[in-house]
């Protein structure tokens, strides 16, 4: 209880501090107003997405509408759906196949005054075993004749973790009435500075601090782990056994990234990005990405990209613990294991040659990403990654390491008013 109060006190202090700083920025912007900023493009996007790999398939639509009201206000609404069906390797630790639907609805409003713009946003996410609400507040200001843009934003989220009842070996459908709903609060503080350096080069620096905290947990509960997953340990017979995971009650993380875009002389651009991430669970991650975009006479855009990512394990992760409850926190989530991934992406944008009434410009877009993830300490102890099983079988804890390949497709139509 005392720990919880301490967490709440720290969070409250952070909020007060963040609002104080926001107020200071707002006041300074009010004192030194300069010329004019630009509202986001008025547009409609209709997207169909699909992720398929590692036994999981997620697909669904996303629709965004953004429109100006007068000269200073822009409003937006987004409707997004994830249709998930899974028989992934996590079925080993959850014990069940599942399918589910997530619906996310967002609304936002931007208000522009001279070179300052304010943004307010609200997002809800609805699944039968997870509910989330997120509130966002942001402020942007341009300086030095619009060469520099500074943005600060704050996000606050309230989540509720639930659990579905297992019906005939599947986790579909109903919420488990015996599972106590677990409350979680999230806060995000982010700062972005974009800078035009030359007539062909623009750069951006982003830093973000996130906090997640469980509220009013009973002993043995945590809102931060997946309630279906288990850790793995060696039982008295020297075999793998499993028990529900145990996670800490708070998660704090920091991330910083730098990206740059350079305009090449032949209607092309190149984009580079690096990011570093650390958290209080011991995960440290880096990723880098390179993109090349070629504009073919304004009718076609071709985009090619390559991304690499790697991370270390969380302090409380193990593929196989030596015995039951061998430490306070125990996890076997592959997302917390050490791994590296490579992504190759291709994208094509086609500007539609005919005019659609009410719209100035329309495009059709198709993007494909191929992801390969190699896990360094997450073993496939059921299917053995389709490796040849030696005589007498694999020794426990020495099964083949897991890896997966996934394809991500995005097809969308965009219309500009």
């Amino acid at each position: 209880m005392a720990a919880r109060e301490a967490v709440v006190a720290v969070i409250n202090k952070k909020i007060i501090s963040a609002f104080g700083h926001l107020l200071l920025v707002a006041c300074s912007l009010w004192i030194f107003p300069v010329a004019a900023a630009v509202l986001p493009d008025e547009r409609v996007d209709i997207l169909e997405h699909q992720y398929e790999g590692g036994g999981i398939k997620v697909s669904g639509p996303s629709i965004l509408v953004r429109k100006d009201i007068g000269r200073s206000v822009s409003v937006s609404a987004n409707y997004y759906v994830d249709l998930v069906s899974s028989a992934s390797i996590d079925v080993h630790s959850s014990g069940s196949r599942y399918s589910e639907e997530r619906k996310q609805k967002s609304v936002g409003i931007d208000y522009m005054h001279d070179r300052t713009s304010f943004n307010l946003g609200y997002t809800t996410s609805d699944e039968n075993d997870y509910q989330a609400k997120t509130y966002n507040l942001g402020i942007s200001q341009t300086f030095f004749g619009d060469l520099t843009t500074l943005n600060f934003s704050f996000g606050f989220g309230e989540d509720q973790v639930l659990k579905n009842r297992k019906i005939e070996g599947s986790l579909e459908g109903e919420t488990d009435p015996d599972f106590r709903p677990l409350d979680k609060e999230r806060r995000t503080y982010s700062l972005n500075i974009s800078q035009i350096l030359t007539r062909n080069l623009i750069t951006e620096l982003s830093v973000e601090a996130d906090t997640e905290a469980c509220i009013d947990m009973l002993e043995g509960e945590s809102c931060l782990n997946n309630p279906y997953r288990s850790y793995s340990y060696l039982d008295v017979n020297g075999q793998r056994a499993s028990k529900p995971e145990m996670y800490p009650l708070t998660h704090n993380s920091d991330a910083a990234s730098i990206r740059a875009m350079y305009h090449l002389p032949f209607s092309a651009s190149i984009r580079a990005e690096v990011r570093h991430y650390t958290d209080n669970w011991g995960v440290s991650a880096n990723n880098a990405e390179l993109r090349y975009i070629q504009d073919f006479k304004k009718d076609f855009l071709l985009e090619i990209k390559y991304r690499v990512y790697s991370q270390t394990a969380a302090d409380f992760y193990s593929d196989l613990f030596p015995f039951e409850k061998s430490q306070t926190f125990l996890a076997r989530d592959k997302e917390l294991s050490p791994f590296s991934s490579k992504t190759f992406g291709l994208g094509l944008t086609y500007k539609l040659p005919w005019a659609i009434p009410g719209f100035e410009k329309s495009t059709a877009n198709l993007f494909w990403d191929h992801i390969k993830i190699d896990y360094d300490d997450f073993r496939d102890y059921d299917n053995f990654s389709k490796a040849k099983v030696p005589e007498g079988g694999f020794k426990v804890g020495e099964e083949p390491l897991y890896s997966l390949k996934a394809d991500v497709l995005r097809f969308y139509l965009s219309f500009w008013f």
Binding site: H21, V34, S62, A132, R199, D210
Partner: protein, 74 residues
Amino acid sequence: MTAKRIALGIFMLCMISGCGIQPWVKPYERQNIADSIMSFSRDPVSDSYLSHVHDAREGAKGADGGAGGGCGCN
């Protein structure tokens, strides 16, 4: 302490802008910068989805403009 320093830096930046530093890339020289292929987020809906794909499968998150709220991966 760090946050206070950042806020102070922002305030100083505003002060300097008020003193009238001249832009070194003139508005008429920004044709290439204004090109749609020079946007960090050309299509927000598409970029937001891809951030979500990464966030759901990687330990790292943040500093990429991704939106929060649920993940469809529970």
